[in-house]
């Protein structure tokens, strides 16, 4: 089994984000519909739809998560964030009915991550959002486990394309467990093969040296 020479930083737990995690950084790029509660003078260039030099109070804009989190304040002087469609009542009933049908990759590749971050902006529906996230995960768990543990040496793109990023990481770990067991059973575990590090370095292959 190949072990990596470095371990990437995992995404953060629950409502916290890990500063150094690439997944969290990409996640914070997702845009949220927001409404400004006060005017932003001379920042009109951010709002492409109007030519106003300032952003007046009450403008509806799409802001990325990192900006919304930074500007959000409990007293709500600056910004008020609306829930994206996927976390609203309509979609929540779809998820509660059958989580397996939904294409989570299309709903934003970071469904679970963004959902956890949305809980920072106090919405009245926070508890339901948290519960829906958990129930969706549990509902899809069975299918993810079966597909990752049984697809050996096949093209898995059809299985993976409907998965969220979190589920894709799980799928990969399931596949690696399966692959290492199968390769052991075939006897490949005791065969000596060149390490990936050495092959990439390309200085040690004897065929290259003989040319």
């Amino acid at each position: 089994m190949d072990t990596q020479s470095y371990l990437p930083v995992q995404p953060g737990v629950g409502m916290e984000e890990n500063f150094l995690s690439l997944d969290d950084i990409l996640l914070s790029q997702e845009r949220l519909p927001a409404r400004t509660e006060c005017a932003f003078p001379r920042l009109g260039f951010l709002e492409k739809s109007t030519d106003n030099p300032d952003i007046v109070e009450g403008t509806k804009m799409e802001l990325p998560l990192w900006l919304s989190k930074g500007l959000y304040d409990r007293k709500r002087r600056v910004l008020s964030v609306e829930l994206p469609k996927v976390y609203r009542e309509g979609w929540r009933t779809v998820f509660n009915a059958d989580p397996n049908v939904v294409d989570l990759h299309k709903m934003g590749p970071y469904y679970y991550g963004l959902g956890s971050q949305m809980l920072h902006f106090d919405c009245p529906e926070n508890t339901e959002i948290g519960q829906t996230l958990l129930q969706t995960f549990i509902g899809r768990f069975r299918r993810n486990m079966d597909s990752s543990q049984n697809a050996y040496n096949e093209d898995t793109s059809a299985l993976v394309e409907r998965l969220d990023t979190l589920e894709k990481a799980l799928f990969r770990s399931g596949q690696s467990g399966l692959n290492s067991f199968q390769s052991w059973e075939k006897g490949q575990a005791s065969q000596i093969t060149a390490s990936a590090l050495v092959l990439n370095y390309r200085k040690r292959k004897i065929t290259d040296m003989q040319q």
């Binding site: 089994m1 953060g12 737990v13 629950g14 409502m15 916290e16 500063f19 989190k69 930074g70 959000y72 409990r74 679970y112 959902g115 956890s116 809980l119 920072h120 106090d122 508890t127 948290g130 519960q131 996230l133 958990l134 995960f137 549990i138 768990f141 069975r142 993810n144 486990m145 079966d146 990752s148 543990q149 979190l166 990481a169 799980l170 770990s173 399931g174 690696s176 467990g177 399966l178 290492s180 067991f181 052991w184 059973e185 006897g187 575990a189 005791s190």
Partner: protein, 187 residues
């Protein structure tokens, strides 16, 4: 854990061999290996048995459970019951693979045995997945599974632990710690 590591741990099990050489008692740190006399059976660890077999210095006697009728019984019992049955040996999968690869001439009906052991393995792994699924679906806190072998646990370990971690993350959304709500750390 690699399957290769589990196999290494399995090689500590003892198996009976019939040597064709003679040697006095050997005193090793892990234990003594009794005196070897040609034609008399002696118990040795599997690693030594395989080494001697490859050098053609012994004949391996298949363990008592490696018999077609007994394995058929175990397979049928495993299929009938929902719980895990007592296993023939705590490392039955590894021993089957090792012994059948290196000593298949000493073991009668090797192919049938291989098929039967694979059937038992598939049934047990299916039961394991079922219980893992019910564990997560009902969001239990503890589970007790008897009669599981290390190899079976090993195949499911990384996936299962990662998904339990994800569940923990999603669950901790619902109980935010008191001071983190509404405050964002400036890095």
């Amino acid at each position: 854990m690699d399957p290769a590591e589990v196999e290494f741990l399995a090689e500590k099990e003892t198996v009976k061999i019939i040597p064709n050489f003679s040697l006095d008692k050997v005193y090793l740190i892990g234990g003594d290996l009794g005196p070897f006399n040609p034609g008399l059976p002696v118990d040795v660890p599997v690693w030594l048995a395989l080494n001697l077999k490859q050098r053609q210095k012994c004949r391996i006697v298949p363990p008592a459970w490696m018999d077609v009728d007994k394995l058929e019984e175990m397979r049928d019992l495993e299929r009938k019951e929902d719980a895990f049955m007592p296993v023939p040996s705590p490392h039955y999968m590894e021993l089957t693979k090792l012994l059948l690869n290196y000593a298949s001439d000493n073991i009668p009906k090797a192919d049938e045995i291989r098929t039967l052991v694979k059937d038992i393995w598939d049934t047990r792994v299916a039961k394991l997945r079922l219980s893992a699924d019910s564990f997560i679906t009902q969001a239990e806190a503890h589970a007790k599974l008897d009669n599981l072998t290390l190899m079976e646990i090993n195949t499911i370990r990384s996936f299962f632990l990662d998904s339990l971690n994800c569940m923990y993350k999603l669950r901790s959304n619902m109980q935010p710690s008191g001071d983190s709500k509404g405050h964002f750390n400036d890095y």
